[in-house]
């Protein structure tokens, strides 16, 4: 409402009174509209909300009380006055019953009119204030409702289960994810639920609910569903009342199956490593024990042999530790990689040179077949050397005396493909499958004398894959194997 310039509508069929009042009120600062009959008045009210309306009781078209009823319906907060010369107690009562604020008997003096209107304006202010408060209250209620449903949506969207139980162990709230984390089909609000929880969890919740005062501390337990199909981490936190006593417990259920699986793989790897480390140590210890045992007679040549064997076992132990360190560095991506453009021909020629002694020992023939033009690859020199040293030294170790090694290289779309074929002992299909697994070593009548850590090819695979390349193997048992390395070309 404009308190400086209140708006008023005067509905009266008497022109003199209409215009007289209009002039008077405009001088008083009112913004005045007039209507000469009920219908016009109602039309004006439809379009404008007036602070005040004066309605003549007797008009030729519509009865003033009907006009009043219609105006109050349209504008409940407009303050209406009934003005008439035919004042009667009954009409006064009737008009206030229909919503008129007051009754102005005609004729009235300007002072009387203004006095009444000012009272009406105060009432108008009260009505508007009440309206404002009502609206505010409704809006805040709406907000609370919004907030509740938003919270509910948020909790429902969490992939972890959220379950709230009261001191009676009954469900107060839960989200949908709770069901599969407890491996149950249904849960009802108000239902006793502690018997639906795994034992360890029930114990924690029961203990928390029996506490007199809420301790600000959460407890965690883990359990498995269907013998390891799913692992769940459950965190229980007490929910306090205002006075600090326990109102209930909120349980958050997280799926930690992936984490558990990684943990299991890690533990398996660690125990395999321990076994691989212990075996050569046990062999060396065994020789030392025998050599120191005075009750056992061994010849000098036996002693020499034991020392040579011990040394060889310790050397392979050292190789193993170095391979393990390489793997761990690779996994942690701590390798200080120096990416440069590499000429694969040069790398392979150098590797052959490095392994010359072993090649000569087995009287192997090495054929290198490279086209004149080959694209360069971008990689860390040491890593690529490592890859081909491992592959070519396998081709030597698992070869036959006077056998051959063929090394081919070609450009294949976006890849550089290097094939290393040998005329060696080859592999059985089931050995081929496990070839790149850590610590896998083919064990058969041909491999007995061959030493190795069982990590060489798993390192090859890790390096190649870290460059988004691929390594494959083809093999025929007792005929030979071909290792195929695809390395992406940086164009």
């Amino acid at each position: 409402m404009n308190t400086e310039n209140p708006t008023i509508l005067i509905i009266d069929d008497e022109k003199g009174l209409r215009e007289g009042s209009k002039r008077l009120l405009m001088n008083e600062g009112y913004i005045v509209d007039t209507a000469e009959n009920g219908a016009t008045g109602i039309l004006l009210v439809k379009d404008n909300e007036y602070d005040l309306v004066i309605i003549d009781l007797k008009m030729p078209d519509i009865d003033g009380l009907d006009v009043l009823t219609e105006i109050k319906r349209l504008r409940p907060n407009s303050v209406c006055f009934i003005a008439t010369a035919y004042a009667s107690y009954e009409t006064a009562v009737e008009s206030t019953r229909l919503g008129a604020y007051s009754y102005i008997p005609k004729p009235f003096t300007p002072e009387e009119l203004i006095f009444n209107l000012e009272k009406g304006l105060k009432h108008r202010q009260l009505l508007l204030e009440a309206e404002r408060l009502k609206r505010e209250r409704e809006e805040s209620l709406l907000e609370v409702a919004h907030e509740k449903s938003r919270l509910k949506t948020i909790i429902e969207s969490i992939s972890s289960g959220v379950l709230l139980v009261n001191t009676g162990g009954e469900v107060v709230y839960y989200n949908h994810a709770t069901l599969n984390k407890l491996a149950i089909d249904d849960l009802q609000i108000g239902q006793y639920s502690l018997d639906k929880l795994p034992d360890g969890l029930t114990d924690i919740v029961t203990r928390m609910l029996s506490e007199k005062k809420t301790v600000n501390k959460s407890f965690t337990t883990q359990y498995e569903i269907n013998n390891g199909d799913m692992y769940i981490d459950a965190t229980c936190s007490p929910v306090p009342q205002h006075d600090g006593t326990v109102a209930g417990v909120v349980i958050v259920l997280k799926n930690i199956t992936g984490f558990k699986k990684i943990e299991k793989i890690k533990n398996q790897f660690v125990s395999m490593v321990a076994h691989e480390l212990k075996t050569p140590l046990a062999a060396v210890l065994g020789y030392i024990r025998i050599m120191q045992d005075e009750s056992i007679h061994i010849s000098e040549s036996q002693q020499d042999e034991f020392l040579t064997r011990s040394r060889s076992r310790l050397n392979s132990l050292l190789d193993l530790v170095n391979d393990l360190l390489d793997i761990s560095r690779m996994e942690e991506k701590k390798v200080g990689r120096e990416i440069e453009e590499l000429d694969i021909k040069e790398i392979i020629r150098n590797t052959i040179k490095f392994l010359e002694f072993e090649i000569a020992k087995s009287k192997l023939l090495v054929n290198i077949n490279f086209p004149d033009q080959l694209p360069v690859i971008k990689a860390d020199r040491n890593e690529i050397i490592r890859v081909f040293t491992n592959i070519i030294s396998n081709a030597i170790k698992y070869n036959k005396e006077k056998g051959f090694i063929d090394i081919d290289c070609s450009e294949n779309g976006n890849y550089l493909t290097i094939k290393v074929s040998d005329s060696g002992i080859g592999m059985q299909p089931e050995e081929k499958e496990k070839l790149f697994q850590e610590f896998f070593r083919a064990k058969n009548k041909y491999t007995r004398e061959i030493t190795g850590t069982g990590l060489g090819l798993s390192i090859v695979k890790k390096i190649i894959e870290s460059y988004h390349g691929k390594v494959e193997v083809e093999s025929v048992f007792e005929k030979g194997s071909t290792f195929i390395v695809h390395l992406p070309i940086n164009k």
């Binding site: 533990n267 398996q268 125990s271 395999m272 321990a274 076994h275 212990k278 075996t279 046990a282 062999a283 210890l285 065994g286 020789y287 024990r289 025998i290 009750s295 056992i296 061994i298 064997r309 076992r313 064990k443 058969n444 009548k445 007995r448």
Partner: protein, 132 residues
């Protein structure tokens, strides 16, 4: 001392441990035969018909020892002699078995489990126990 068990067949793919156990057991008066693989071990077993067999667990496969025990125990001779598994796997790899529970006896056809490195006293105790 070793009246009941003159000959023992040792099967292990670790040639060093095989050599050492041979020396230790020969010192105690046993006649020792050795084999470096399951395949050769089974062949030797059938040829020499030893008084006892000691088998390594992890050879060609992680469970080679179990398979070999089963094959030996299926033979007429194998039924009547002690066959032991020698391993460090129970400690190292968390591969838990003792071949003492009824369930394990169902699927592990051995007469006992020995831990590496072999203790001759432990072996003798097991042999005596088997006899009784």
């Amino acid at each position: 001392m070793t009246n009941n068990y003159h000959t023992i067949l040792l099967i292990d793919d670790d040639i060093d441990l095989l050599e050492q156990n041979k020396i230790l057991l020969e010192k105690k008066g046993y006649k020792i035969y050795t084999a470096e693989s399951s395949e050769y071990g089974l062949k030797l077993f059938n040829d020499i018909k030893p008084d006892a067999v000691i088998v390594d667990l992890i050879m060609e496969e992680r469970d080679s020892g179990f398979v070999l025990c089963y094959r030996i125990k299926k033979t007429d001779h194998g039924k009547n002699i002690p066959v032991f598994i020698l391993t460090s796997a129970t400690y190292d790899t968390g591969f838990k078995f003792s071949a003492t529970t009824e369930e394990e006896k169902e699927w592990i056809k051995c007469d006992g489990v020995l831990n590496k490195p072999v203790s001759v006293d432990e072996l003798q105790a097991k042999l005596d126990n088997y006899k009784n």
